[in-house]
Symmetry: C3
Subunit: 483 residues, 3 copies
Amino acid sequence: QQQHRFTRQTQCQLQNLNALQPKHRFRSEAGETEFWDQNEQQFQCAGVAFLRHKIQRKGLLLPSFTNAPMLMYIVQGEGIQGAVFPGCAETFQSPSQQSQHRSDHRQHESFPDQHQKIRQLKEGDVIALPAGVSHWIYNNGQSQLVLVALVDVGSNDNQLDENFRKFFLAGNPQEGLVRGGQRQDQSQRQSRSSRGQHQEEEEEESQSQQQESDGNNLLSGFDENLLAEVFNIDTRLARKLQNERDNRGAIIRMEHEIQSPEEAEEEQREQRSQEEEEEEDERSEEEREERRRSRGERGSGNGLEETFCTMRLKHRTDSSFADIFNPRGGRITTVNGYNLPILNALQLSAERGVLYNNAIYAPHWNINAHSIVYITRGNGRIQIVSENGEAIFDDQVQEGQVIIVPQNHAVLKKAGRQGFEWIAFKTNANAKISQLAGRVSVMRGLPLDVLANSFGISREEAMKLKHNRQEVSVFSPKRGSQQ
Amino acid sequence: QQQHRFTRQTQCQLQNLNALQPKHRFRSEAGETEFWDQNEQQFQCAGVAFLRHKIQRKGLLLPSFTNAPMLMYIVQGEGIQGAVFPGCAETFQSPSQQSQHRSDHRQHESFPDQHQKIRQLKEGDVIALPAGVSHWIYNNGQSQLVLVALVDVGSNDNQLDENFRKFFLAGNPQEGLVRGGQRQDQSQRQSRSSRGQHQEEEEEESQSQQQESDGNNLLSGFDENLLAEVFNIDTRLARKLQNERDNRGAIIRMEHEIQSPEEAEEEQREQRSQEEEEEEDERSEEEREERRRSRGERGSGNGLEETFCTMRLKHRTDSSFADIFNPRGGRITTVNGYNLPILNALQLSAERGVLYNNAIYAPHWNINAHSIVYITRGNGRIQIVSENGEAIFDDQVQEGQVIIVPQNHAVLKKAGRQGFEWIAFKTNANAKISQLAGRVSVMRGLPLDVLANSFGISREEAMKLKHNRQEVSVFSPKRGSQQ
Amino acid sequence: QQQHRFTRQTQCQLQNLNALQPKHRFRSEAGETEFWDQNEQQFQCAGVAFLRHKIQRKGLLLPSFTNAPMLMYIVQGEGIQGAVFPGCAETFQSPSQQSQHRSDHRQHESFPDQHQKIRQLKEGDVIALPAGVSHWIYNNGQSQLVLVALVDVGSNDNQLDENFRKFFLAGNPQEGLVRGGQRQDQSQRQSRSSRGQHQEEEEEESQSQQQESDGNNLLSGFDENLLAEVFNIDTRLARKLQNERDNRGAIIRMEHEIQSPEEAEEEQREQRSQEEEEEEDERSEEEREERRRSRGERGSGNGLEETFCTMRLKHRTDSSFADIFNPRGGRITTVNGYNLPILNALQLSAERGVLYNNAIYAPHWNINAHSIVYITRGNGRIQIVSENGEAIFDDQVQEGQVIIVPQNHAVLKKAGRQGFEWIAFKTNANAKISQLAGRVSVMRGLPLDVLANSFGISREEAMKLKHNRQEVSVFSPKRGSQQ
């Protein structure tokens, strides 16, 4: 609750923003991982890292945790996620075993497996994960699973420096991958070098250079005899855990498919539409939460209370969840501390935007957050204006690019002809915007005389400023509008 | 709630403090704005910026917002302030229109204007404003309106760098003004240059150098065609909003006066004393708040909940609001999170001090805050002592100077012959002091034997230390006391 | 609740940790104070300072406060502590006076002394102290009193830079001592010099060099005439308070012993076992607190509310307080925001560990904190593993050494033949660990198929990983186990 004081020598000279592509790519057996350049000035200023996983069918992103809170968005496909919170009970029986088990009660079941909760993910889901909590993701869908993630390395929950760090529990991922694309010796050099130029070309990290190393999972750093003693296993198995010669990377192919919780249930139940069930799940989870909160049980928010065991990590951004909808313009869906309470601990939130062709998202500024925007589909034009009235960004952007809108800077988005969709991650659990135009804009809140005198216009003109645009946040295009 | 860890290379070598005058001055059509030097070491260390507005009669400080929480104090005069919170309703009808409207119900009223709440300000008021929330101030009094403001650029609510940034919604203020006196190209250079010497001479910023630029309000950075589409206005009016050739600066003269809420009401009501009404307003607002809080509605405090719509931004520091009063010494009034709850979100508080001639404010240290002191009247002597027992400041100070008392450093204030008044802004919502002398001092809390042995004095002497000064915080002068 | 954004140029290159001895030693009349090197990279990265006081029988650590929250642990001996919170009542009568007083009600008592609460300390106690709150410690036991303290200079509660600063209310301690071993001119130079090499040899700070200075307590920086006026004493006594020629240092010998609260009470009461009483005290304090909390009185946590007046500062870590106990392995006791609520304000916690010979503390990582470990007894082997699977520490450690386990890094502790005991200070009020092995480990939370595929092992082997070690956190050694 207190603030910190310190002397920052460096300045965030945000005179020129860029829409960026990923810089580093790491191929794995069953997918690839791409990182945006942490040394880019806009990422440095915002104190965030950004990455994208592409997980092939039957691919498993190895269990790992990160040194900072993370907010993910499923761009495409389906999958299963499991997160392991220390001290929480193993409340799920492995579905594949369970169904078999149930169908034949008497059969000797050799491995009745229990583990912590897993959840089904699909396109449009936002998933939150606290720093230091390990998780894995498995693609059980029919197509590639693509997800993007904001890693808030500038968060107070990260007590290390602002470098991205991923700690793998198993496997032997590339060394660059655990540091977000930076090699250990590089990170210091690079951070001091000139950051002015930004390189668009993506570097392909060769996997060969790290094959000599000792294995990059957490267990590989321990003495194998100690490891054997600790797990009460033989040394041979302990050595296997260190995965020294494993070259499958961070995303491996799984032989047996993992069944999703829904599939497992379905086998047991009468057929109901899956959509319905999911909605139900979501709702019942929310209700439970609300009851908990009304009893005042929500902790003071360090984000790792026992209630985490039952806390929701996921929120949908389907059109049925939209907060703002304009049939001629598009829709905005907000995921924040109010509808996904874990975000209060993580101090992150998200905004899903869909603009139809040529529609406009009302010009506004972010009051209390940076906004890190990933374009998920289509294209559009974005203008960003700084305190001295200069456009520090004015360009067309398209699918797959990331652009950071700094706190308090004004931004305007206009969709192109194919429409424009994005996911914006914001560095505040309850990020607020203040609009410059529209029905809930700052112009409406100002007295007419103040407007007229400030702009040096007539009262009639000031009236137009306040009232000509009656839509809320998503503006339909003018007839015959051109970008 | 977690703390952050980082390696600060720089040190705050506070071996020599100075009482400072403003460094940069910007003249406008109807007033002027002065900034203290952000590059001064004590401001850098405290992570704050400081400024003073002088607004002439009928002058309007243009609508703008700042990248950090702000705490203002009205040094002189009267005015009206309006703040625009996003999502809050337009609950006020423009008073001038309203009265006209009511007096003749049937008259066709061409501009029935509605806007957000406005409030009357007067000398002695403390006003709080969150980062990113726009506001304007209009001088509706008979004399110049003078206000000073602390801008907490080191606050967690500012996610940009620690440079002051002001975003104007309208007009064309000087470029230096939006950066607190620093030109954009300067800021980087200056911050790295030697900061040892401090220049007392105030620089007058010439207005000519920025006349060529494109306009410095937020709208001027957008494409005028987009602007026209967004507001649904014609391009000619859109171009007007960019105020390119406006040279009135940040404070402009208004032709029609804005009526204060009190004036508007008076016209409708029987005459009552204005003082009474204000007191009533203040009280009813506080009561409402208390009821709200007792129902547990106060949010978890990111400071931008819906309750902001009805939250008080203003607190009086009149003698009737004093917390400590000594008829022979003076008085202290505290404005903090308890009596102005919005400060809990802003993590700032204020202390108004009035010492009569030769009186003394008990020597103390600030437990959990820096104290940024602006001398509002008179003069006095201030001593500030660091951890190694050295006076890092010992000098006469006078009206208009700013001195920063760093956290934990001991400070003693003694009024001169004309008395001594100040407003101290503190970087904590509930700043606490620990006194070295007086009835609530640390000496009282220590056992006699500890005192006697620590100082190497007798128990009788230790008794004197604990009990000879019975006043609380404001000490009356010795008879015939000299500075 | 918001996070801060800034650009840290420096990196925490934790490629090599060291178990460290103190670097600076300051001898006083009745004890000595040792500081670990603040410039060591691991202390810089963790944002903490570390010190040890050795207080001889009848020695008094002078009243002082520190610029950051502090967590202390009594390694050996007994003592009395008094902390002085501003605005709290003087609720204790000095016991020595009190008992005398009661035994002869009519006797003229010349100095009936009242002061704030004092508390008895003994080996195994953890004591919390907020930034800026002054306290003193007196050794009333039969042996030397040894205590270690973590000073969280990186805490948000410290608004100065990250240098340790101690402000003495009395006496004339060495100048280096008030800065944690650094001389003022050094601190800037040193922090910029190469920090690669770490010097094991402890420097003895000569006391002579500071004898010329003016006195290092807070009062010595004030004008003696002002001081006389402020305390309403004569100038001769005021000059005495400045302790200019005092060369007793920070720990002085007291002539009259101070009686502990328990002793004082005992004289008045029938004999009961002291243990019982203490337990009772502890319990009744906790109960009171709980009642307070259930009434919702616990403040929003800036840590200096009125409730501090009655808040507990102390928690025992005796075996009777253990949270985890394994008769063949040892025990773990946790002191955190749940059982010592003041820690919620300080954002610190502690873990007391006792391992019997050859036992193992389950390998784990700290989810949300650094862990600063001081070895209190015995010896053992510690391994610490970073994100790329390298052991950045793998060595024997022994009594008196400090080693920092960075957040998220994996750590394994194995006791030597004499057993192994430590106190770990953690930079979070509710620090959580996630274990790699044992009954509550991450392996248990992962599905069998995920484990098997990730490590490339059979399902049978994965079962062993999950279930072979059934103990919770403290593992008994294998028969015939060797380090």
